[in-house]
Amino acid sequence: MSVRRLSGMSPTGRSLAIFGLFFWAFITLFPLYWVLVTAFKSPPAVNGGPTYIPWVDFEPTLQAWRDIAVGLRGNFYGTVINSTLVGVTAAALATLFGSMAAYALVRFPFRIKLGSGLIFFAIAFGGYLFLLEFSGLSRSGSMVYAFTCALVVSIVVNRYKLPGPILGNDDVIFWFVSQRMFPPVVVAFALFLMFSEFGRSGLTLIDTFWGLTLVYVAFSLPIVVWLMRDFFVALPIEVEEAALVENVPSWRIFIDIVLPMSAPGLAATFMITLAFVWNEFLFALFLTNTKWQTLPILVAGQNSQRGDEWWAVSAAVMFAIVPMIVMATVLGRLMRSGLMLGSIK
């Protein structure tokens, strides 16, 4: 076989490949089919052992869906709205801020001294402990002061000569992308504690829209910067240069030329981010209680609340899956048109 197609392949090899594909497709799709039919089964049909085909070996019913509709299984309407609001806002903000940052990192030179980064760390860390110990400020007060101080000092210091290496654009991009390596649980506990401290000083962040959304924006940014950087690198620079000759300001070049040209990339990035936020469990578990609970938490709760009522669990799972399957189809369209390829190279 030329490995790229089966033309030169023996008939046996060809049928083996097709068999393999069918086999894996069955493994992939059967569980999804199963959850779909189980959502339409009645309790006795579930507990009587496995049945496969509606109208043939069980009589489909809408019982599970009716239970959800009347609110027997928890607040589904509110949760779906929460998930949608948080997901769309976080994905939109992350795509916007991420592409701004990615564009800046592609088109403008940055020089950040490693020394000023270390100074930021030292002042934020030491300053927080110092203020907490000796100033009598509350914990949230110490945090805000230490953070602001560290930021201001490190920006000022960055203008002066410092020993140590200077980080260029590629290092900054690496820094952004490497955020993705952190196990979220490291930050999740700290955020939970920080948000509780701020709550004590009057700024409620736990179980609020902005608290959760901003966290999601922060954790989507690495992926957005990574994907969008590749789209921007691939854009022809001549158009922008022509605009520059005409003295068009940079922000107008970005909004009027660059963003429209990379619209397909923005759409794909938006959808990937939305999928990430929609499915995310850990942060939602830590940072929400009841008001801004998202879908994964509610779906996870279905299992423990009333025992294994699989028909209801299936219907709940469908709520979490179907929007993403619709999106996958759209994404698949985009992919076939060769759009995703640029982001991977």
Partner: protein, 290 residues
């Protein structure tokens, strides 16, 4: 590259959000990890230096959890890579209905891990699940898929493979499409067997992207929690407990925050060490090829 002060305006929003929501919590959590800090009972935190870290490293449960997580990551990522690469090769060979296969085969990675875990529990149910019917047919009724330690570990690995093989398929397929056609034509002219073509051309050319894919998958797998949380809750005993789940149990069941922060930092260090070793071992191969 042009210079324009507006560049700061472009980069600051993203920079500030990451700084405030990821870096600063990280620093805060580092400070807590040196303290004795419990939420319940609410005693004021006190600095205790490295005690949390020393305690943890001496704890057998911690070592068991690292071991469990590493097994899940190594076995599942290896399977994902092998299966994903094979499927990508099959898809790339122009089989009838390839477009349909592509959409269908990519579905699992877009589903919430929580939902995947619930579906898995349904499939693996020892009395009313469809898998039980299959194994009963072969003479093994009521296998303890989630209640025996080895079966449970295997089930979690299977679910991870089910969910994340599509990711490998997607990226390997993209990689395959960038391969130069003429090299294969030349190889076919010289009567090189397909098997040799694969090992001498396809595999080496795809080595850099393979290294990247395995790296991404391994890093992501180390964070696994939702799946295990729903499927087994870490049980039976602690035999399927992963690092993130362990941190969750310590933090939200015992409210021992200093200890949990120390735990998550050891976790971070562990991931960084593994990542650096992995990249250091494979770098010469990748560079030699490209």
């Amino acid at each position: 590259m042009r210079n324009d002060p507006i560049k700061y305006l472009f980069i600051w929003p993203a920079f500030m959000i990451v700084l405030a929501m990821a870096i600063f919590p990280l620093i805060y959590s580092l400070s807590i990890s040196f303290m004795h800090y419990r939420l319940i009972p609410p005693i004021p935190p006190s600095l205790i230096g490295l005690d949390n870290y020393i305690n943890l490293l001496g704890q057998e449960r911690f070592r068991a959890v690292i071991w469990t997580t590493s097994i899940i990551v190594m076995v599942s990522v290896a399977l994902q890579y092998v299966i994903g690469f094979s499927i990508a090769l099959m898809l790339n060979a122009r089989v009838p209905g390839a477009k349909l296969f592509r959409v269908g085969l990519l579905l699992p990675m877009l589903i919430a891990p929580v939902a995947v875990a619930l579906i898995a529990r349904m499939m693996l149910n020892p009395t009313i699940g469809p898998l039980n019917e299959l194994t009963t047919f072969f003479g093994f009724p009521n296998l303890p898929f989630l209640t025996d330690r080895y079966w449970a570990l295997g089930s979690i690995i299977a679910v991870e493979v089910w969910q994340w093989t599509p990711f490998v398929i997607l990226l390997m397929l993209a990689g395959l499409q960038t391969l130069p056609e003429d090299v294969y034509e030349a190889a076919t002219l010289e009567n090189t067997s397909p098997w040799r073509q694969f090992w001498d051309i396809t595999f080496p050319l795809l080595l850099p992207i393979s290294v990247a894919i395995i790296f991404i998958r391994a890093i992501e797998s180390f964070k696994v929690m939702d799946t295990v949380f729903i499927m087994t809750g870490g049980g039976p005993g602690i035999s399927t407990e992963t690092l993130t789940l362990f941190a969750y149990q310590e933090g939200f069941k015992k409210f021992n925050m200093g200890y949990t922060s120390a735990l998550s930092f050891l976790f971070l260090i562990f991931i960084i060490v593994i990542g650096v070793i992995y990249l250091a071992i494979l770098k010469p191969y990748v560079e030699k090829r490209s």
